[in-house]
Amino acid sequence: MHQPSPQCPIFPEILFSNLRPGIGATTLPTTTSLLHKVCNKPHHRTVHVPDGFINAPTSAVTGLVAAGALAVSLRGARRELDERTAPLAGLVAAFIFAVQMLNFPVAAGTSGHLLGGALAAILVGPYTGVLCVSVVLLMQGLLFADGGLTALGVNITVMAVVTTVVAHAVLRGLVKLLPRGHRTVTAASFTAALVSVPAAAVAFTLLYAVGGTTEVAIGKVATAMVGVHVLIGIGEAAITALTVGAVIAVRPDLVYGARGLQQRLKLRVNGELVDAPAASRPEPAPVASRSHHKLWITGLVTSLVLAGFVSFYASASPDGLEKVAHDHGIDKAEKEHRYADSPLADYGVKDVSDARLSGGLAGVIGVGATVAAGSGVFWVVRRRRTAAEAVEAAPSSQAL
């Protein structure tokens, strides 16, 4: 499920008895207990897609998609930040990691926290944003066993790529359409974050439709996912917009999404860096390629959304809708429900008997073929450009 929701945190989750109201309960906590809270809480609430949720072939293909997206992002980030990429993206990843642990109390006993995809996209741009969130996911998977290793591609695609790219596209679009100004950026950030969360849910639903391991009406999945995630998205949007607003108030030059809004004093770009805001972030050449990229992104998003809705209408039955709505209505705060809705469908056959043969063969062949193809592609790409290869591909080629 949860996938998107996995991280999704933002909202309601009942904090079980041991967790008190949001941040610091009434008594002054000691340093260690604070640290404890900071460190521990989030992890229990962040659930990424586990192994076995999406079947092997789909996971493999999604892994390749994630790898491709990472390759593109690596190149894009390098183009924007040149040799500052590693330290800056690393620090921003550490920031995302930390800020996901910041609790935003909602009301008695519940609190939410950021997913961070949209925030990353707005603050540091889509390329660096994808890298940062992906690295956070990768490390969570390896260090905390958060999210299945075979589902890493799914997690990265949905949480890092879709969220970030959608947020960026929405932000860009709105900033262009609306009157220029810092308020606009804040408002656009709200919308971008709001849209990005359900978009991730839709992406997950599509993946589930293709490669989910249990058969459930895709309509139900879609409704449930989108419904819950719109709620989650509202929280995410509020926090994101407030945070972006706070940064803009102090260092507007650091906000990628606000670039070009202010007329910087004439910048003499003199070779050496330093004074990062000025020297390093002039609206760079990649404008052209970015718009190209944007076209591509827009196409992707449109098709994702279309596919989501089409399948939704195609298969949703009134009962299904009602039932899910009912489920949700009861207590969306409860964890179980998040799970309940998200997961579900699978049109991938699995009819026991022939599943063995057809599914099995398909699985083995699919995994083999994608891994082989992936390795091949990466081999070629890597020869040409060491910097641009992607995650996943290497490990998988080694593994098999």
Partner: protein
């Protein structure tokens, strides 16, 4: 480290650092340096004093070519700082930044110390030997495999010094070396600095520390060198000190301090 291709300049070893006519404005138009001139001979220990905003950091960033593009020249051991010799210059000028957390960016102490020489192409046992030697000079050898985050502040600062010493620099530039150190760490660092056989330029607000370690001081004020002389004399000149917003700690009288070894 890497043999310098050509040591131009005079056969007699040139001064470690020569700065002449250095002026610089940031891209936003703010001018920080207005013609700075000074030289530091090989093996000297010099303090650079000055109020906040005097341009000290800007000056330091010119010494290894991170900032540039203004007028004037900086020469390190006779070599002009500029694009052409950047790698060599950065090996010769070792800057220890104020926050050791910024300086120690690798996962372990050993790797951090190895970073500079490794970037210059050193590897294998030679690299290892250099790292060990540098850590020994700051008394941190047994901490080699620790992550920097697990060290105390004073230890981190010492490791930061090692990361620069390992490059065998011509000149060691320290930005506020005594800040945030407890008295014991402060003294330990002083002992280490005194034991080193390199040219030192120390940017500091800690006047007693400057007096203790540096026979000579420069006062940078409003982007120019306002005074240059023996540390004791400068600190004892009340009018000069007041003019440049420099204040001695309460009860500290530079005249009463006898400079030992």
């Amino acid at each position: 480290m890497t043999a310098s291709p050509a040591s131009p300049a005079s056969p007699a070893s040139p001064a470690s650092l020569e700065v002449s006519g250095l002026a610089f404005a940031y891209p936003d138009g703010h001018q920080a340096l207005f013609g700075v001139d000074f030289g530091i001979g090989r093996g000297e220990r010099v303090a650079l004093l000055g109020p906040n905003g005097a341009g000290k950091t800007t000056l330091v960033l010119h010494l290894n070519g991170i900032l540039g593009g203004g007028t004037g020249t900086v020469r390190v051991a006779g070599l002009p700082v500029g694009k052409k010799h950047l790698a060599e210059i950065r090996q010769k000028v070792g800057i220890v930044f104020q926050d050791p957390d910024d300086q120690l960016f690798m996962p372990t102490v050993r790797e951090d110390v190895a970073f500079g020489p490794a970037a210059a192409g050193l590897k294998g046992p030679e690299l290892e030997a250099r790292v060990v030697a540098a850590l020994e000079r700051v008394g941190m050898r047994e901490f080699a495999d620790r992550p920097p985050h697990h060290l105390s502040f004073g230890q981190r600062r010492r490791v930061a010094v090692a990361t620069v010493l390992v490059m065998e620099p011509e000149i060691l530039v320290l930005d506020e070396p005594s800040s945030n150190l407890d008295p014991a760490s402060r003294r330990e660092l002083a002992d280490i600095l005194r034991s080193l056989d390199v040219t030192v330029l120390m940017v500091t607000h800690d006047l007693p520390y400057a007096l203790e370690l540096c026979p000579r001081s420069l006062i940078l004020s409003d982007g120019v060198i306002a005074a240059d002389g023996p540390t004791g004399e400068l600190l004892a000149d009340d009018a000069l000190m007041r003019a440049h917003r420099l204040e001695l700690p309460f009860g500290f009288d530079p005249r009463s301090v006898t400079m030992g070894a």
